[in-house]
Symmetry: C2
Subunit: 223 residues, 2 copies
């Protein structure tokens, strides 16, 4: 297996959104590594309230091409990862998560008791404020972001995709009737068939502020 | 300046959510690098519809401690990054973004004309479906996720924070009256004062599926 030594900074700087891919499949060991890294991403209260459907079959990719209005990524990339947010997952038993953390020595009984109660109260409050979906989507997007960088580090290209019909994506991955699940993001993964130049970013002073929104760095902070 | 050679995979595997920090400040050059990497993160339609407020002053950090219900991170970490989502940013002129991409050779006039119209139509549809906030939050969370890994790669620790009162955070960073802006995530950054063992993750078969939600890998895919 290739040793992947690209630094995080290099991955962030060289990652581009790639829409066209070579037909070459991703070796199973690389896909496994990528999915292992995806589930390492943190989630709110360690709820692990997101899942991933890896679509690589012809039928599934044709379905995602349909669901994305004919975009090239699902037709050309060997794998499209569908990041599913699970806004109701907190209602399910998380005893297995607590037991795993207890066994690993990360959490003790006292911590688990307090954590479990606080997590439940937090989610109930999100529910009251209509924010369950937003928070689960955030957790799914953190995992998708980790995948973009991990794939870049492995020499693969990706495209985060927002342009899809949520009902159609849900139909393709078999959750048309699951109102408790939401689609957060699609990420195509494969070997690039194009080089995409960097379109650039606005100067940092337009989007990065200090202490208050809109406030520039002091001279000494302006690097 | 230290050379940061941690691979993406190593950063993902070693990143832990750290709640307690040493009082040591982050050198300005490192904070600059971190913020440069943050704004490299992709956004939907390159809208760059998120901004970052870096809070490091005593008053701001005390404010964020208040807004987070007394959590230790803002009190102890030298910097807390507030990721602000800008759901209405697409209504503003993006001529500077197009001009930058044209100058860099990434986009030509024909591409820009089509892209600009398609982007506008996409955002109008999000508006109709009540999804503007969710999509801007997604873009802010991608940037926050890149920061978590970039910081890890620099030997810094982070904590993504969801437990805050949005109105209070907005007040602290001076946007109490800005209904057009939303708080997506807070990320504290600093030198860790604790080692946190990994609580673990559910086995991959619980959260990663193939072709259809709930479907296990075929034997050959099971790694």
């Amino acid at each position: 297996m290739t040793k992947h030594t690209m630094s995080v900074a290099e991955a962030i700087r060289t990652r581009r959104t790639v829409r066209h891919y070579l037909p070459d499949p991703i070796p199973q060991s690389m896909l496994d590594e990528l999915l292992d890294l995806a589930v390492e991403a943190p989630t709110s209260w360690n709820l692990q309230d997101r899942s991933i459907v890896a679509v690589s079959g012809d039928e599934g990719r044709a379905g995602l091409a349909w669901a994305t209005g004919g975009q090239p990524q699902p037709q050309e990339a060997p794998v499209v990862l569908v990041f599913v947010a699970e806004p109701q997952a907190w209602r399910e038993d998380h005893g297995d998560v607590y037991e795993q953390a207890r066994r690993s020595g990360a959490w003790n009984d006292e911590f688990i008791a307090g954590f479990s109660a606080a997590s439940q109260a937090f989610q109930e409050d999100l529910d009251r404020r209509g924010l369950l979906r937003e928070y689960a989507v955030k957790d799914a997007v953190i995992a998708a972001s980790f995948v973009m960088l991990a794939a870049t580090g492995m020499g693969l290209a990706t495209s985060p995709m927002n342009g899809w019909d949520e009902a159609k994506v849900k139909k393709v991955i078999g959750i048309a009737d699951r109102d408790d699940l939401a689609v957060a993001l699609l990420v195509s993964v494969g070997y690039p068939a194009q080089e995409r130049p960097h379109p650039g970013r606005r100067p940092r002073r337009r989007t990065v502020f200090y202490e208050s929104y809109g406030a520039a760095a002091t001279p000494s902070q302006d690097g």
